[in-house]
Symmetry: C2
Subunit: 455 residues, 2 copies
Amino acid sequence: MTSYSSEPSGRVLKAPEHFLSQEGIKTVVAESKKGRRDFLRNAFATAAAGAAAPIALAQSNPVPAEGGDPNILNLPTHSTSLGQSVATVGYGVPSQYEANLQRRPSPGLTQTTQASVSFAPLQSLFGIVTPSGLHFERHHQGWWDIDPSKHRFMINGMVKTPMVFTMDELMRLPSVSRFHFIECGANTAVDWGNVAVPTVQYTHGMLSCSEFTGVPLIALLELAGVDLKKAKFVLAEGADGSSMTRTIPMDLITSGEVIVAYGMNGEMLRPENGYPLRLVVPGVQGVSWVKYLRRIKVGDKPWGAKDEAIHYIDLMPDGTHRQYSNLQECKSVVTTPSGGQVLLDKGFYNITGLAWSGLGKIKRVDVSVDGGRNWRQARLESPVLSKCLTRFNIDWVWDGKPAIIQSRAQDETGYVQPTYQQLRAVRGTRSIYHNNAIQSWLVQEDGEVKNVQLG
Amino acid sequence: MTSYSSEPSGRVLKAPEHFLSQEGIKTVVAESKKGRRDFLRNAFATAAAGAAAPIALAQSNPVPAEGGDPNILNLPTHSTSLGQSVATVGYGVPSQYEANLQRRPSPGLTQTTQASVSFAPLQSLFGIVTPSGLHFERHHQGWWDIDPSKHRFMINGMVKTPMVFTMDELMRLPSVSRFHFIECGANTAVDWGNVAVPTVQYTHGMLSCSEFTGVPLIALLELAGVDLKKAKFVLAEGADGSSMTRTIPMDLITSGEVIVAYGMNGEMLRPENGYPLRLVVPGVQGVSWVKYLRRIKVGDKPWGAKDEAIHYIDLMPDGTHRQYSNLQECKSVVTTPSGGQVLLDKGFYNITGLAWSGLGKIKRVDVSVDGGRNWRQARLESPVLSKCLTRFNIDWVWDGKPAIIQSRAQDETGYVQPTYQQLRAVRGTRSIYHNNAIQSWLVQEDGEVKNVQLG
């Protein structure tokens, strides 16, 4: 706090650099050649096979040359008229042409609308950031829009000085911002039972990724005088009517990773995602990221709360229940092409998908188009971050014959995403939670893509 | 394409790891101690000064102990009732309590609403991702919501085979996803004239940062048969009525950085940001990120288009105009505390802000609270990416006396953000564009924060 230094104030300002050399202004001339070709079916596939690409030209959908007469060229209205002013859009919304892109509930999954799930439309998302409007959502007794000026956050239990914070107080404290995925422990649950859910929105859509901002929980515990020799766990408690309480081990907290978060993707959390405060527990299943967070209680044993004793437990092959298996192990899924999509013709496609691990960074993703006999290594988009989604891409030329597309991720610990056969050998067939098996998409000859389960 | 390998399919699945040891279920006991204290004014400031922190307790805003009677404890409705179902929210929106958080136009800045600017509310944003609904927006003849099924993208000029693409064709090609800032060349323009614009939304709010997804332009040019020995520049042309055309040098394109983008923060571009297609030119001022992109023309000289000859040029001290100075040089700004905000009392604050450079990564940010006499190095949040916003944070205990807060960024090239004095020595006082000077915020004794210009 007091170690001031004046370096590097003595640095000299460089002269601003030019972007282009000054070659003067050249008058634009009209260009008459324009065209279109079915390169996806013909040329690009040929190029991909290693030959030169003789690209055919066809006259359609002409783009007018500059200086032309808009009446002659049938220019669209948006090229010849005044548009709308943004002054009416203080908070922007997607295009009207994207109205079908929504998170969607699965009505049969839970018995009341007040305890339900909305799945993120992974098949149409790009990169790793989930738009907050499409972030998946799981609530246990409905969601609320809580007045932040009335919300309070308490720390009590095994601390020297119990404390209560207002939101204003929390937001004046040292903050961190980090990208992390959040996945419900029940993601891909229905597929355990060999039921092929039709689309990736419903198989894997309880998964999202955001930049979260807030105060490291360890800083708040230290402020309250936690005794780390005695305190081994905390209980996180939400303010909604579901009485959600979850046990978090102290070693995750002392690592500095657990955040008492108010920000998501640059703005305040959305109401259905816990506004104004939720816990961020990187790598751990979503239920522990307690929403509407009102209390952290410090203790020396796990609490065995109702959502730890009855729900979010794994039924093992020997009939026992495994508790507290909260770390989301390495997993991936191809999002395009995926179930419910249709490939309109043969030729080049970009296969793309997501990989993640609750134990660290993704090291590698392999993709198969023949049901796992042969694998090729996919490109990983930067940045590759710990406990965060990683986007992968790989080229594919579809020959029109049936294909089975799979992805298999490996994380920095060396752990490799299992096949269903491998997973069931350990976990049995009657579980619900923590299914991280390799997903298979069948591309039929007619281009339809379907969910199939391979051993 | 054909180099298949089967490694590492022989890997053995590790047994899933336990999150917690099985210590059984412990019944929750009620906790009676709860409290609240003005730690921000007293204890935390004391702690920051190096002493122990004797934190006072006060009874207010009690959080109920579990098991209590909600009627006695005055539990809020959201703790005792069913909430809303998310089934009605296919595309979520911010809390009602955040309604004041909007991008805002500056009515006096341009003469018609069809050619205007909306500034992003930087003072209230977290991290580096700008929510797409709050992304800054500059349009030259209104904005449009163009039907993507009718939109076409052409490549012509000095290529072997001119080509026209539909959106479907573009979206089947190899894609990349990258985080980049976009800043209007006129950001912070009004401050050139020693006019202290009141808030950071209006001084620096023509700045945003997103994850963009699309096809590298170089891949498309190679498909069209570009001759890189002759082709030195491209002209990017938009489809809206402003006839926006900008020259881009080929060396930026051959680096692979320039993207023909359709995705922004995981979903399709927003209409006011160029839906369905815009050019992404990392490090370069926003006007070159042509919206509603309909054409790339390849040539061997810069075009000197109207928005290059008349606008986005720098009036130099000798009376000449400098063109094509498009690279956004290293810059930073403190976003909290910032102009228009009020510090309600003395004590601890988290000073936070943004730094960026069009020439690479941010290497370091220093913060001063005494108008530049002393500097301390701020913490940079991860990841620090090239040509991307970087979030910085630093602790500060306000003693209630007047303070002048500044930030000074340095990028990986060694370039240091200039003072106004340094900038004016090179650029004069009558310019509009490319003001990257150090910003000063005065904190008055009454807590009000104001924009002041220091030499």
